[in-house]
């Protein structure tokens, strides 16, 4: 019989948490026997489950109690812990990812009672892996693999040739194997390329978000005219998980989504000119994100096939990354309340007007004002400002404005707050039409000029005009 039973209860058990959100709850301990607890640990984390080896990670942990418990007692211990930012909760076929709050009591010389409670997590930001670095490293590793493969193949041929001199039977086996490899290469690579000439397949969308369009291009430049039956793209998502290791290793695949787009029907490709086939495919809004864990992946690929009549087809494939779209207003809604003074009511709106209100109230408290500015840094807003006049400030700090740009005195209408707008020379002409009137456009808050009490805003290039 266990010495105690643990139960976890959350303040919001049905909530959907966003990456980094605080999870509030308590652990209830029901004690069956007198026991000493060396530590009641509560933690948050995630783990995979399904057919693949388990990948998991602990986000944060805390010890909420250590001491003695007496039989028959029940105790409650509160906790607040953050959930992970990535990966998101996912329920597939071979691959599942779930987040949990875990509780475990360290009982010496006994089985440690433990429990866990599942929570749903939506990711607002993706794995910090840089897609460009990932692409670069993929190209580099691909080149290294090719060189190594070539060297190994050469060594193999050399050894095989020497051994064949001593054992003709061995030579039959070796050259038979080489012939099979050669035939495979002939049909999958040499013949299609020989028929089509120069073929270039390029995925123009490295990183896509659900709801975005995926763009790709296929260019064929044949040496001589060739007829094809058609060009077809396939955009596919697949769970790929690995169970076991070594000889016991097995890979399981499950197709989650597959979309075919026919780019061309039967046609003739004329010699010595470029033929381009474009792909524009809108990813469904509910497309799952790309996931790359140790033994559990969800992979998106964009494949293209050129169907050549009575000839091996040409095939190309590239990996596509599908990531969360980080909504700026959503992110600001989660950061601005943290930056506001504790006595201030939490900001419920993410609009520029609300930020202006916060800044206006915080002007007498520079610490608080700086926290607010930190919280809204790099967020692009829809800016409203009544333009007053251009001013000359000497050299413009390029971290704030545009070196060849202008500075405009302005004010937010309601609530009233003086502003300094930094605009580029290309935008300056547009602003000329708005002096004395309210202008609307896009910009980011870059600072606060304490000398004159103006909030500094850098107007985005190519801002829209209203």
């Amino acid at each position: 019989m266990a010495s105690c039973e643990l139960t976890i209860q959350l303040t919001e058990p049905e909530a959907i948490f966003h990456g980094g959100d605080a999870i509030h709850g308590h652990v209830i301990v029901r004690v069956d026997k007198n026991v000493t607890c060396n530590g009641l640990k509560v933690s948050t984390g995630w783990e995979t489950h399904g057919k693949g080896n388990v990948d998991r990670k602990t986000v944060e942990e805390t010890v909420v109690f250590h001491g003695k418990w007496s039989a028959g007692e029940s105790h409650r211990y509160d906790f607040t812990l953050p959930c992970a930012s990535w990966p998101p909760t996912y329920h597939g076929h071979h691959l599942n990812i779930d987040h949990f709050v875990y509780a475990q009591a360290d009982i010496p010389w006994a089985f440690d009672p433990k429990t866990k409670y599942p929570i749903r997590v939506v990711s607002l930001q993706a794995d910090p892996l840089d897609p460009q670095k990932e692409a670069d490293s993929t190209e580099l590793s691909g080149a290294i693999v090719s060189v190594i493969f070539g060297l190994v193949a050469l060594a193999f041929v050399a050894v095989a040739a020497v051994m064949a001199l001593f054992n003709p039977f061995f030579s039959v086996i070796v050259f038979g194997f080489m012939a099979l490899v050669g035939v495979w290469w002939l049909f999958t690579s040499f013949l299609p390329n020989w028929k089509l000439g120069s073929v270039r397949h390029r995925l123009e969308t490295d990183v896509a978000h659900p709801g975005d369009s995926v763009h790709a291009n296929l260019r064929v430049h044949p040496r001589s005219s060739v007829r094809i039956n058609g060009v077809e793209w396939t955009i596919k998502a697949e769970e790929v998980v690995v169970r076991g290791s070594g000889t016991d290793r097995k890979t399981y695949r499950h197709e989650v989504a597959s979309h075919r787009v026919r780019a061309s029907g039967p046609t003739r490709l004329d010699a010595r000119r470029d033929h381009n086939f474009a792909l524009v495919f809108p990813l469904p809004d509910d497309s799952p994100y790309s996931i790359d864990l140790d033994d559990n992946d969800l992979r998106w690929t964009v494949k293209v096939r050129i169907d050549i009549p009575n000839w091996p087809d040409w095939n190309g494939e590239e990996a596509l990354l599908v990531r969360p779209r980080v909504d700026a207003s959503e992110r600001q809604a989660r950061r601005a309340p943290e930056a506001a003074n504790d006595s201030e009511p939490a900001a419920e709106s993410t609009r520029f007007t609300d930020v202006i209100g916060l800044v206006a109230r915080a002007r007498g408290d520079m610490d608080n004002l700086e926290r607010i500015l930190e919280g809204v840094a790099d967020i692009e807003f829809d800016v409203q400002a009544k333009l007053e006049r251009r001013i000359s400030v000497g050299r413009i700090d390029p971290r704030i404005g545009y070196e060849d740009g202008i500075v405009v005195m302005a004010a937010h209408p309601d609530p009233h707050l003086p502003l300094l707008l930094y605009a580029s020379s290309s935008t300056a002409a547009q602003l000329d039409a708005y002096y004395g009137r309210v202008w609307q456009g896009r910009g980011t808050i870059v600072g606060y000029d304490r000398r004159i009490g103006n909030l500094e805003i850098r107007i985005s290039e190519n801002e829209r005009r209203k």
Partner: protein, 224 residues
Amino acid sequence: MQDSIQDPRRCSVPARVTPPAWLPYGHLHLWRNPFGELPWEDRIAAAEVDVTRWLPVLSRPKTAVQFMGDCGRGKTTHLLALLKYAPQAAYVYLPEAQPHPPIPTTSPLFVDEAQRLGWRIRRRVWQRGQPLILGTHLDLTRSLQRFGYDVETVTVSQQVSEEQLGRIFRQRIEMAALGTGPVPDISSARIHSLMDAHGTNIRAMLETLYDVFETLKGSGDGKL
């Protein structure tokens, strides 16, 4: 978040909570498919085989028990079941195409895929005389006997019974239970059909049961 030590607050025990509605197997009072891959510590806990007759080996020098059988028959499960009785032991898995980890001198010593030991390392390990529990595809009796070992060989494919399979499957289901209500059971008829289809290959049975439970899932592919 700082570590915090709180004063306890006494309270009454709450009633059982209902399972989260969004969990794919919540309607079965399970948090996951019971027949998926388990983390290491759960594999040890789930190792449902009777190994008590080999317990003396754990403390007897120059004594070895080797579990032999094809993949999926339960060699590793037997090793893990014995490991529960020897928390101080070292467990080493020898991968096929990767560098081998160092072999500890801890006693007893568990070696999974022991047939992959190179002859030099094997000689060094056998010379130590520590109790050995081996999972292997090759019979290492003669090699061990040359170093004075008493060897018992267990062919695991002969160890599986319907009752044992029932315990294995129920243990797995219990490990996936949310604790909010009754969980499914595996009938004798189902166990019989699994034995007919897969013989003694427990791993194949687990894969079949995984696919069966997938059909019982409540929510769709890839959707939160």
